[in-house]
Symmetry: C2
Subunit: 174 residues, 2 copies
């Protein structure tokens, strides 16, 4: 599928509601556990997306659009949410994510990006030269990856409870 | 995590809204493609869940609760949705799933299952003896597995569009 901004916006605008539906009605017994050391709980996934709204996607898009002498992105802290989410509830994080995403989508729409702008490049600290188009596609895929990851970590809490069904439910051992 | 009916209901009641948020705002360019032969598109995932509401979870629970002489479940048709969803829109399927799930959750709540009932057994055609508790846990994990699968097949549509980010987005190659 070719990247088109209108398609990307469909996903970017849906993700806060997806997380609200997926996690908003769940008790901590579901949202707190993770998949082992250095992995994310459902709660951590949400905090990670919030950190991305603040520091990753739109700030990096700004660096690309500015086309200044230094187009290198700041490295991204994959574990920032362990600090930043402390003491917050799932409900607070869902509200925060919804608000930040809405602001960022408004910013993105406001740019009315041209094909020429989508082809501009920045410098990823680990991946090298990347275009704005690739950055926006990665934002979308990153959202969906964390929806999948969140559903998976929730499912794994029932890895034992399903008994013999484990064999038919590959998500429990992924 | 031990199985508790109240926890299971939290997920079972959330899933229709999760699919509505995840897919309701997407164009066919997102929802129609699959991951290759004999795999499910986002559209197929939703149809598969609907088929399960009609023929799988609650009908199997009834077989267990009846404790008749034949407690063997009917085999489940994993590809029934290719027929049953034909000519329907995502919006129609979302409504149908929401309605069927609400009915099934009402049925499940109405049973007011005791620990004794949760331990009753049926006969899975492929897995052998399974308890009602395991069936209900599998229903929950199956929901979450299909949320993960749907998010993954959507993400994969941008496998090429993300360019070098593919390396950082394991969901694109899972």
């Amino acid at each position: 599928m070719e990247f088109r901004l209108a398609d990307a916006l469909e996903v970017l605008e849906s993700t806060p509601a997806t997380f609200r539906a997926l996690m908003g009605g769940l008790s901590e017994a579901w949202t707190a556990p993770n998949e082992g050391p250095e992995t994310f709980s459902a709660f951590d996934n949400l905090g990670h997306l919030i950190h991305g709204e603040r520091t990753d996607w739109i700030p990096r898009a700004r660096i690309i659009l500015a086309q200044g002498p230094n187009r290198r992105f700041e490295p991204y802290d994959r574990f920032a949410q362990y600090r930043e989410s402390q003491g917050k509830s799932v409900a607070q994080l869902l509200d925060e994510f919804e608000r930040l995403r809405a602001e960022n989508v408004t910013t993105l729409r406001g740019w009315q990006l041209s094909e020429r702008e989508l082809a501009l490049e920045g410098e990823h600290p680990g991946l090298g030269p990347v275009t704005l188009r690739q950055l926006l596609a990665a934002w979308v895929a990153h959202d969906l990856g964390h929806v999948a990851q969140t559903a998976r970590v929730l499912a794994k809490q029932y890895r034992e409870a399903v008994g013999p069904w484990r064999e038919y439910l590959p998500v429990l051992d992924r």
